[in-house]
């Protein structure tokens, strides 16, 4: 793809990235950081391509290492973010079990 097309994509993505998180409350800073962290685990795609095209043993070894690391980043990131968010429930969602009285 032409350099200028990639540059266009890059600039537009910067603005989208700024826009989507500009109004997040501090309550969600930790899960948001963790979730964004998981998204850059998509480097796994690059690791797969690099490994799949390796033509020497050293390249294969490094590619496999990259794939393992990227998978840890991506899979671990999404799982731990989900674990955190599972716990974020409002009063309405938790049912009567905890019996908080409205004051």
């Amino acid at each position: 793809m032409e350099g200028i097309t990639l540059l266009t994509l890059f600039v537009l993505a910067v603005f989208v990235g700024f826009e989507v998180v500009s109004k997040v409350s501090t309550t969600l800073h930790t899960p948001l950081m963790s979730g964004a962290n998981a998204i850059h685990g998509v480097i796994l795609v690059g690791a797969i391509i690099a490994t799949g095209q390796a033509s020497s043993t050293a390249a294969l070894v490094l590619g496999v290492v990259a794939t393992v690391l990227a998978t840890v980043n991506m899979v671990g990131g999404f799982v731990v973010t989900d674990r955190m968010l599972e716990m974020f429930k409002g009063r309405g969602a938790r049912g009567g079990a905890n019996g908080r009285k409205a004051s």
Binding site: F18, L28, G41, I43, G46, I49, S103
Partner: protein, 502 residues
């Protein structure tokens, strides 16, 4: 095997990119956050599957094996980690992501197929060197040189050099933050004479090597030794970058390194000519930058003072308290129970110590008990309560405290004046008036919870040891302050029993 043609691959990558945007958007509000994260995960799975079907890949067994191993490492870690250790885990995951990006870019630059010819969707890859089988290190040297470089080749080489440089910085920096948060090393700023010159020199050397990589790309292949040198210098720079950052500022650095890794992934997308990596990486880079600024603002710090503050003020600040024995007013659990039981309004200020003692459930029990007596109970949550912004909200959510009673700092500060008792559990730095009164203290300028405005203040503390930032808290010696020493959970359990007996 390549099943998908280029337009289909691009289309599916676009769907995955949209998933990531929806995920980030969803993560910005509590009621959509979980769904957002799941959409992001679905996008990632789609992207990986599409990749397998779009490129002519060798070593499939190795690749699948590596993914299985990575999942086997990542999933149990993510499932088992204590919520208190979340900042370390994010740092760790971020670091390995940075390392992966650096490795990918390195492999692309040194591969046997010239730059900009690799990573292209199936059918367009002319394998020039075609497995020469020389078995050389990276097979470098076995490649026909002299393929003329175009402007795009140099740009791709530059993007690759950027990825290796910043990815390696992100990796080693994240590992140091991990060690700091895990308390494998001191949490204080580590400075040494000439440290900033070493850092500056290292960074310059890194940039110079990056330029050398671009120049070396004139025959479309880059020397692996040059890249190895670049990575090595970058690793050292990453360590020097994070060492002088101390205590409460560490989470901001994690967020910044997270943005760095995002940008490296974007740059590697440039090298691989892969739009998904470019878009996803850029999204994380941009949103991570905003998030870092929001966090720094919440702490009343500029980003530069966070990162380079320790260089300037050296290690003299922080020696505010001189260890003299001054009288404090300590009380029993019974005293605290009476004080709370007959109050009209109580604000609980939870800190990291609460989570370490695993006392979140006990504090909820206490709050419910007080509410049952008709007492108004609020939680005052400092933006950086815990070990990173928003961390305390996660910890309290784990204990089923509904997020509606959690008040952010700006909302809760005016409330303290009309409050009978401010109950500070395992927090220190976030209520330390030194942030307002002592220029030169590491936390100076950070907005604090004004617990001193309350009629009475109760600190539940393990000892007189200062907090994470390592500075003495004058409020502890204030006449209206009462201290209850001991493990937060034991103390709270006794207070709960005391209130029940009233």
């Amino acid at each position: 095997m390549a099943w998908l043609s280029a337009p289909w691959t691009a289309l599916f990558y676009l769907v995955a990119a949209v998933c990531f945007i929806i995920a980030l958007k969803g993560l910005s509000a509590p009621n959509t956050a979980r769904r957002g994260n799941l959409i992001g995960a679905a996008g990632a799975v789609l992207a990986v599957l599409v990749t397998f079907f779009s490129f002519d890949l060798d070593h499939l067994g190795w690749i699948v094996g590596a993914i299985v191993v990575g999942s086997a490492l990542g999933v149990p870690t993510a499932r088992r980690v204590a919520m208190t250790q979340m900042p370390q885990l994010v740092a760790l995951f971020n670091g390995v992501g940075g390392a992966a990006a650096a490795l990918v870019a390195g492999l692309e630059l040194t591969g046997t197929v010239p730059l900009l010819e690799r990573g292209k969707v199936v059918g367009t890859i002319p394998k020039l060197a075609a497995h020469s089988g020389s078995g050389g290190w990276f097979a470098y040297g076995s490649v026909p040189h002299g393929i003329p470089a175009t402007a795009d080749t140099y740009i791709a080489a530059g993007a690759g050099a950027f990825t290796v440089l910043v990815g390696a910085i992100s990796f080693s920096g994240s590992m140091v933050t991990f060690a700091k948060l895990q308390e494998l090393m001191t949490t204080r700023p580590v400075t040494f004479p000439g440290g900033q010159y070493l850092f500056g020199g290292g960074l310059l050397a890194g940039v110079a090597l990056g330029v050398a990589v671009v120049v070396d790309a004139r025959d479309s292949i880059v020397s692996p030794w040059l890249l190895a040198a670049l990575a090595l210098v970058a690793l050292v720079v990453g360590v020097l970058f994070v060492l002088p950052v101390g205590g409460a500022d560490v989470p901001i650095v994690i967020s910044l390194l997270n943005a760095f890794t995002g940008l490296t992934v974007a740059a590697s997308g440039y090298v691989l000519d892969n739009t998904l990596l470019l878009v996803a990486g850029t999204l994380v880079g941009a949103s991570g930058t905003i998030l870092t600024r929001l966090m720094a603002a919440a702490m009343g710090r500029s980003l530069t003072s966070t990162l380079f503050g320790a260089f300037r003020q050296s290690s003299s600040a922080g020696a505010v308290g001189s260890g003299e024995d001054r009288p404090v007013r300590s009380g029993s659990a019974q005293d605290v129970a009476i004080m709370l039981g007959y109050a009209r309004k109580v604000i609980i200020v939870p800190g990291y110590g609460l989570a370490v003692a695993q006392a979140q459930h006990t504090i909820r029990e206490l709050a419910e008990l007080l509410e049952a007596r008709g007492i108004e109970v609020l939680y005052g949550i400092h933006p950086v309560a815990g070990r990173m912004p928003g961390h305390m909200n996660v910890l309290l959510a784990e204990a089923n405290v509904p997020y509606e009673v959690l008040r952010e700092m700006d909302q809760v500060n005016p409330e303290f004046a009309s409050t009978d008792v401010a109950l500070v559990v395992g927090a220190n730095d976030v209520v330390n008036p030194a942030a307002k009164s002592t220029p030169g203290a590491p936390i100076y300028g950070m907005p604090i919870l004004e617990v001193g405005d309350a009629q009475q203040v109760v600190f539940l503390k393990r000892s007189m040891r200062p907090g994470f930032a390592g500075i003495e808290n004058e409020l502890l010696y204030d006449p209206k302050t009462m201290l209850l020493f001991g493990d937060a959970k034991d103390s709270l359990t006794k207070v709960v029993a005391g209130i029940k007996a009233l």
